[in-house]
Amino acid sequence: MSAILSIEGLTVALPRGADRPHALDDVTLELRAGEILCVVGESGSGKSMTASAVMRLLPDNVALTRGRILFGGRDLAAAEEEEMRAIRGAGIAMIFQEPMTALNPLRPVGDQIGEMFRIHTDLSAEQIRARTLALLEDVRIPDPALAMRAYPHELSGGQRQRAMIAMALALSPRVLIADEPTTALDVTTQAQILSLIRDLQRRLGTAVLFITHDFGVVAEIADRVAVMQHGVVVEQGEAAAVLNSPQHPYTKALIAAVPPLAAPPPRAFSDEAILKLEGVSKTYRTGGFLGRNRRVTRAVRDVSLELPRGGTLGIVGESGSGKSTLARCVMRLIRPDTGAIRLDGTDLATQSPAQHRASARRMQMVFQDPYASLNPRRRVGELVAQGPIIHGTPREAALARAKSLFALVGLDPASTDRYPHEFSGGQRQRIGIARALALEPEVLVADEPVSALDVSVQAQVLKLLAELRQRLGLSILLITHDLRVAVQVCDLVAVMKDGEVVESGPIGRVFEAPEHPYTQSLLAAVPGREFQAARRSRL
């Protein structure tokens, strides 16, 4: 098959002072008609930059220095801005990671899709309406007529992404560039969107350049794969070949870092519960001046769980299932409406603020976003020493202890007087863990501790958590949306849906033989399941 889009020796220079001279270095890729080419790599590998270069939407301070981008007999690298405007949307269309920011919040979805026709064609208003409706039906949005009139915030994340795909496909482009289109979505929604893209691509014969960091997704939809690292394509080939017999060490490492979806052998832990949740509920009431637009959200409903001493309990669920609210109730960042949270028998839910401050050191939290969870204006050593200082440790001793904690979590103890922005995401998460450990807690609550990190970094941080658990005898409550994360470190798992625990038990049992239909659908939606199974049987 002939190439629709070919990138030859593309080099993009970064501004001086960046971590490397080139964002892309001599990238050569070929996208053939009717195939899905997956470009895989971790953050900073240049995969998104490749897409921007093809669309000629590079940021101002980076420049295309060498190479050609051939599309329809023309070299886009040298094309005039006027020419590019005609190609964007009509010849090459793009969908983005976060559909909420890519859609204009003030205009109905139908109107925004119609915009594509208004710009590039001279169809009448009536024809545009009909075409828009047909497109929304094509992407299988529930109730297309209603969705046309809806504003972006009235649709769910998955529906918004469908609307974005409809918009991208409006002018039957020959190439569709999808930049991490499912990363912001839940597993079950991700599975639906992936099958939609696959299906549309087969039906319409569009060539798809699919950018992702997730080898599970690659296994799910790719025809061919290109692996990028530091702006260089290190390996490319047929999907089956790359997945099953990777040649380059980086590809091997990436595939190995994809966690297996099978529970490790059960570990021994005590039967005695250190943390007990009894009938915890939390309801949010919003709006409602004189009873108008009042909305009641039952975020957590009657949840009872037990965390055994030295064990790890995973709470798994999709966004909106109430798992983060539950974690915040446990930490008393939110006061639950009813129920008891017993730490070694003491009920935390009814403590006064002063009592709670005193008992804070027994239970500590690791947060999701390593960028938002560290105060940007404090040195990292101080951040770690803060807790002990509050609880009465002299400043000097606390700072000295911060140094030893840095060593414990695998950071350079000499770096304690730097600021958070000087560290990478994975390092910041280690600082967050060090801060939580500074108070020598018995229970660690980790809310999505790895979801903002690259796969290979995820594996390292999870390994660190498992090691610390062993060495310090910690009990961990781990909140995650990713079943592949839960299975690596948890002993027990509870699956949450709409604020309720629908199934719980030892992780091996829940994953091998899920009882609740929701658990079954969650497990079935994990991308790359078959590839995983095949890989396991080979090992």
Binding site: N61, R328, M331, L333, H356, R357, A358, A360, R361, M363, Q364, M365, F367, Q368, D369, A372, S373, L374, N375, P376, R377, R378, Q386, G387, I390, H391, G432, R435, L439
Partner: protein
């Protein structure tokens, strides 16, 4: 150092800083250049600038040296600006921080009070305060501070609303930190840059408010302020216009300097505007 370089990139900001240094220089050198009381009679009234080498900016309708009043007036202007701004910003930060951090009914109550202040034109409120408490310079300065706090309060509150739900604030809570410490030591440093920038606006307005009061002859007549001089010059405005114009120019230069410095600070402190 990086901050200074970012600041120096804008020529307007540098000009503003130079003008401000000039005004500060005038205030410092006043006693040395004009050791006599600036409000004492110095010579024949209403001499034009340049007419008498002793009074190079001329004399006013009472025969006082205008140059001496301008130099000593710089002290009063800066004093009013700094003290009134500090009062306004401190009140504003405390109220805005508490309202933004706690939300709920605390926020409701504090914001209604703020709105009550904002709905009144602040010059009218200032007139009422001066009418009630007298027009001594210290009273005037405090009164200006009291009418100027609502805007910094709203700004601080807005910053706190976005910062209070950040994970680093939750992290401080889980460490068992007290609220006061979270508000003032953790969140405030992050919320401060826009408030500091806004303080320059408050300062410029404070200087103008005092001048306006003085123009109406409601400010302290025993102080050599630029506003007093303008007010005095009002009687002879058609012929000896320089009596009002010279202090007017001084106010213009000072307010301009403060605003340009504020703009420069904003550009230097706001990373999103960098490189534009």
């Amino acid at each position: 150092m990086r901050f200074l370089r970012a600041y120096a990139r804008s020529p307007a900001a540098v000009v503003g800083l130079l003008l401000l240094l000039l005004v500060i220089g005038m205030a410092i050198s006043a006693d040395w250049l004009f050791p006599r009381d600036p409000l004492a009679l110095a010579g024949r009234p209403l001499q034009w600038p340049g007419a008498n080498p002793r009074f190079w900016l001329g004399t006013d309708n009472s025969g006082r040296d205008i140059a001496a009043q301008i130099f000593h007036g710089a002290r009063v202007a800066l004093l009013i600006g700094l003290v009134a701004t500090s009062i306004a910003v401190v009140i504003g930060i405390v109220i805005g921080a508490v309202a933004g951090f706690y939300g709920g009914w605390v926020d409701d109550v504090l914001m209604r009070v703020t709105e009550a202040f904002q709905t009144l034109p602040n010059f009218l409120l200032l007139l009422v305060l001066v009418a009630v408490f007298g027009s001594e310079i210290s009273t005037v300065v405090v009164a200006i501070g009291i009418v100027s706090w609502p805007a910094p309060a709203r700004l601080t509150r807005a910053e706190f609303l976005t910062l209070r739900s950040r994970e680093f604030v939750e992290a401080c809570r889980t460490l068992g930190m007290r609220d006061a410490q979270i508000i003032f030591r953790e969140i405030l440093p992050n919320a401060l840059p826009p408030v500091i920038v806004y303080a320059s606006v408050v300062m410029a307005v404070a200087i103008l408010l005092e001048s306006a009061l003085a123009f109406l002859r409601l400010s302290d007549p025993n102080v050599s302020s630029w506003g007093n001089l303008i007010g005095l010059g009002r009687d002879v405005l058609r012929v000896q216009w320089y009596v009002s114009a010279i202090p007017g120019l001084a106010i213009l230069v000072t307010v301009l300097a403060v605003s340009l410095v504020g703009q420069g600070l904003n550009d230097a402190l706001n990373p999103r505007l960098r490189g534009r």
